[in-house]
Symmetry: C2
Subunit: 413 residues, 2 copies
């Protein structure tokens, strides 16, 4: 008779063999052990240091300021934006890279107010990542919106209640704590039904879940690139503005890079035609060109295949947890269509669990309140990694390593 | 009898010998020829590729998300900020690095309005870099300011005229076209006399001219780091907020990184104590750590010595231009105390001159209207470079190479 672990081991091996075509570990320089924090900071793609070395020596070093022309630096935000656009179902010319997610959200929310003048309500999820709430509250104070908090399942009722007073529905595609994947298409349609705009935060779905922004009729979207896109710590965010809104999109932060004729050095701001008006200042090119190299990972497999692999991995993780650590409380939906690419469990000692697992070489992360997250970056996580996570978690709980007293740790983002 | 060029050559050699101690060319990987565009994009410090390779492989690659703690990534904006603060006379804890200059200006201008409620006028130079004007106009529209345009020499009269209605005086320390250095101390004092705040854009002085922000009583300042600080294309900007304003500084873009307790994941924004409240989102760490390595150049010589060398170089450039190309119109002040670290000339064919000089290996840049700029980044420019610039300019004008018809070029920032 085989033990449950042996049976799971055999399944892991079989699943890894089945999905060998989408195993892209050879494209990464991975940390030792099992790395399940790619939903926080994606691993290092091997192409990045090579590219950045060339950018520094051959472009910045050898050509210096001339590289703005010779290497097309001025157009990098568009070039990278289109590359990301292809992963989120955005036709060319609707996405730019640049700034942090917070700044991108600010520009998008402020512009939304001008696109829906007279409407005074914005609807958002109280469970959004804090950034989204903070920025939205700031914009609401600027433009005189009331903020109505509604979890995504309550959104249709909130839209009904506030009807044509709703300027904007602002949601995250995947909940950063639970990993729940929300119905982007249906909720966008509901917003549009009352004439509101739909803005989506794609931080936890881009690069992990196929997104169809154009098809779903999304108005505005923002996302970060250092999670499943592996762009490196703090790599620039991206902004999507549906083409139909370009002419009326008014940037609140009026930067020189978003000007129609920057080199005319005019005194008055005139927004550039198209998506370029979303640009603000000079982008951090080393970080942005690192991101561009990182995106080549997605040349190797279509995003739909990444998603298939991700679902196989998260499903298998659920099976392993059920079999080996049935006492932990799962907070991620079991239905595959309702999951992003992470599995989260709630536990009174979740912080200790994350720490003890890390000591055993399995890196996940902790989020208030009491949630341990296991991010599944499909390109470099295997079914064997997933099983190892569950077996190490079993050992941690059996040994009580998660209860050990340790010095308080600093932040992990 | 020696020719003027021979005499200047002998002086160049003597001056280079005299200033050998502040010649830091060995710390840079310079482009070929004479590079006088360091006021646009500083040259590559040798320390940068080495550092960034280590950051990518040893930090991001090997430690991944853990590096936020182990490598102190969370604190890099403060760490780099203090390092820059030392160059601009700011005591520790008053400068942070992050975002683009445009976004930094937006935060500073918006906060200024809250620091001086009830006042409805902002005074600024119509000759400011376009970014500053665009951002200020946007903020003025947000907060209901009237924008009064006054060149720096007209500022005292403008302050007199608008008196206690002036919330803010926003100026650049060095004019980006002419290279004129304005009286930061005197104009700050004039602003404070009417109870207004003084905000300075240090883009064209930081790293070239000693600045005494604390001593001068400056309230707010912003600067970029890719010019004389050599941080690389689009390296993050920095923001100075005088300590006395920290508690009342209200960030308009309310980011998670500026929160008092980010990891508590609260729904309401609470600005961090001190300068940290100026932070917004996750900073582009590759760009920021490149900047940190670049700043080590300033460990080699005090900023006062950089300034002495710069003045020797720009004075010598004026002499060379006077002797060899007396027909070009100088727009940079001749008085050393009124010059930043560039020399600019006006010419109907300035664009052609810049292009023809570049073909001869002397890289300056062009700015509307009709201005050729020669940026003198003292750490890596020599008196011999300066003489070569004037002799090549003589040749260009003699041969008429600047009149050649060429295809329109793209932007140079």
């Amino acid at each position: 008779m085989t033990s449950p672990v042996d049976a799971l081991g055999a399944r892991a091996a079989a699943l890894d063999a089945e999905h060998a075509g989408s195993d892209l570990r050879h494209l990464f320089d991975l940390p030792e052990g099992v790395y399940l924090a790619g939903n926080s900071l994606g691993a290092l793609p091997r192409a990045v240091p090579v590219r950045l070395e060339a950018v520094m020596r051959e472009q910045w070093g050898a050509e210096a300021v001339s590289a703005w022309n010779t290497r097309g630096w001025w157009h990098v935000p568009r070039r990278v934006g289109d590359r990301i656009g292809a992963l989120v179902g955005a036709g060319a010319g609707q996405v730019v890279a640049g700034d942090s997610t917070s700044v991108a959200l600010f520009q998008v929310f402020r512009a939304a107010a001008r696109l829906r003048p007279g409407r005074r309500t914005v609807v958002t999820d109280p469970g959004s990542f804090p950034t989204d709430l903070y920025v939205l509250q700031g914009v609401a104070a600027d433009v005189g919106w009331q903020v109505v908090l509604a979890e995504p399942h309550e959104v249709p009722a909130a839209l009904d209640a506030h009807g044509e007073d709703v300027a904007l529905l602002a949601l995250s595609h995947v909940d950063y704590r639970t990993g729940e994947l929300w119905d982007l298409e249906g909720l966008t349609a509901a917003a549009r039904e009352v004439g509101a705009l739909a803005a989506w935060d794609l931080c936890h779905s881009v690069g992990a879940v196929p997104v169809q922004l154009d098809e779903a009729g999304v108005d505005l979207a923002v996302g970060c690139t250092y999670k499943y896109l592996n762009g490196g710590p703090g790599s620039p965010a991206f902004t999507y503005v549906a083409r139909r809104h370009h002419d009326a999109f008014e940037p609140a932060v009026r930067g020189w890079h978003g000007h129609a004729q920057p080199f005319a050095m005019r005194r008055e701001h005139e927004p550039a035609p198209g998506i370029d008006r979303v640009r603000i200042g000079t982008p951090p090119l080393l970080s942005m060109l690192a991101l561009e190299a990182a995106l080549e990972v997605f040349d190797a497999v279509p995003i739909e295949v990444v998603r298939e692999r991700s679902l196989s991995l998260t499903s298998f993780l659920l099976d392993c947890l059920d079999a080996l650590v049935p006492e932990v409380e799962l907070v991620t939906p079991r239905a595959p269509g309702r999951r992003g690419s992470q599995v989260s469990v709630r536990h009174a000692e979740a912080f200790g669990i994350v720490r003890a697992l890390a000591a055993r070489g399995v890196v996940g992360d902790y989020r208030e309140p009491g949630i341990a997250r296991f991010g599944i970056a499909a390109p470099y996580v295997t079914h064997s990694d997933v099983l190892a996570t569950a077996t190490e978690l079993r050992r941690v709980l059996d040994t009580g390593e998660h209860l050990a007293d340790v010095e308080a740790e600093g932040p992990v983002t």
